[in-house]
């Protein structure tokens, strides 16, 4: 049998099985109880309130602490047991270290700036990477529902990531945004830094047009706040929503068991894509854009 026929047969069995399931079980009608947005709801596990500000310990805090602990733990553990003949874990971390050092930092900053900002950029990369990757491990954190494992009542398994909540990418972005402006002012002085926002080749232009272009450039500086944070947040959130709906959420919502059989392989394909590409790519993009912004703020001329 040729490969083409095998693939066609596989697709035929898959679609046929789903249709057979649909005919056998039919639809239970729309499920009004299941609320997909509850999967991303943050329950206060330990309610804390300081001066009217809610600082409760919840799921996002748990994931944030977990990601930070993993980042620090893994890097310290690897650096303590460095060997002449590296094993697989050390090789993998060395590849990532090399990427952050030579590609992200070295490629966008000059030697002095690179030495100063490499620790920050590498930490950003590893923190976001760990945060994204543990977001795809099902952990028992959904306190709305409970499941029974060997007579033990546990919160239901759910996927969530610290970066799927806008607060964490926004906090990281604010740190980046403030620090590259401070670096720019330090390198060129306040007036020189603001003047360097104008693109080169405008020397002969009249002041009114220059002012107009300056306003546009200033707006684009503020737009970076939104684009940098929302890019990371939306990528991870959309990935989690896709996995939720494809991996059974759609079938439960519509009460169609057959739809679950149809969408589950899609969920698996998306899981591989998200874990293999998007998690690493978003960490890479966030830190390389930080390096580009830092480099752009301090470069002598464009």
């Amino acid at each position: 049998m040729s490969t083409k026929r095998k693939i066609l047969l596989g697709i035929g069995v898959w679609l046929g099985g789903a249709i057979a399931l649909g005919v056998l079980f039919g639809s239970d009608g729309k499920n009004e109880e299941f609320k997909p947005q509850n999967e991303f709801k943050l329950d206060a596990w330990i309610p804390i309130e300081i001066g009217g500000v809610d600082v409760s310990i919840n799921r996002a805090v748990f994931y944030l602490v977990l990601a930070s602990a993993l980042t620090v733990g893994v890097m310290v553990w690897i650096s303590r047991r460095m060997a002449q003949k590296p094993n697989r874990v050390q090789t993998a971390v060395e590849v990532a270290y090399d990427l952050t050092r030579n590609n992200i930092t070295g490629g966008n900053l000059d030697a002095k700036m690179a030495a100063r900002w490499f620790p920050f950029l590498a930490t950003l990369f590893f923190f976001i990477w760990f945060s994204n990757v543990i977001g795809y491990l099902p952990l028992p954190t959904n306190t709305h529902e409970s499941i029974d494992i060997f007579g033990l009542q546990m919160p239901a398994f759910a996927i969530y990531a610290a970066t799927a909540n806008i607060s964490i990418p926004l906090a990281l972005t604010l740190v980046v945004w403030v620090s590259y402006h401070v670096e720019g002012v330090r390198a060129k002085g306040p007036i020189g830094y603001l003047a360097s926002w104008l693109p080169p080749g405008l020397e002969d232009m009249n002041p009114a047009m220059k002012g107009f272009i300056f306003v546009i450039e200033a707006i684009s500086q503020f737009a970076r706040l939104i684009s940098l944070s929302v890019r990371l947040f939306a990528n991870i959130l959309a990935g989690h929503l896709l996995l939720l709906f494809m991996g059974g959420g759609l079938a439960v919502l519509l009460g169609l068991a057959a739809l679950g059989a149809l969408t589950f392989p899609v969920a698996f394909a998306f899981f591989v894509l998200e874990l293999g590409l998007i998690a690493t790519l978003q960490a890479f993009i966030f830190s390389i854009l930080t390096a580009i912004y830092l480099g752009g703020a301090t470069a002598e001329s464009h």
Partner: protein, 92 residues
């Protein structure tokens, strides 16, 4: 929306909240659906140009790879901006 309500209410059984829900669903559909068209075209252009460049200059492959992922991620994010605004319209 206000213009549509009297017309819709002429038909029985359609309420104001029903129309609002329909508007929200349309917002999410347009945000997620139409938004991905542009990003899809953009990603296609990025990968197409990269294949073209590597075919012309195979020795540039490694350098182009890093630029390609940067461009891919920046373009892909545009689809998610519209998607997020669709979600905001749907849930808020």
């Amino acid at each position: 929306m206000d213009l549509l309500i009297p017309i819709a209410q002429a038909a029985e059984g359609i309420t104001d909240t029903g129309i609002t829900d329909a508007g929200k669903a349309i917002a999410l559909g347009v945000g997620a659906g139409l938004g991905s068209i542009g990003a899809g075209i953009g990603i296609g252009i990025i990968f197409g140009k990269e294949i073209e460049s590597v075919a012309r200059q195979p020795e540039m492959k490694d350098e182009l790879q890093a630029i390609r992922w940067l461009g891919f991620a920046l373009t892909e994010a545009v689809a998610f901006y519209t998607f997020i605004f669709g979600l905001i319209a749907f849930f808020l």
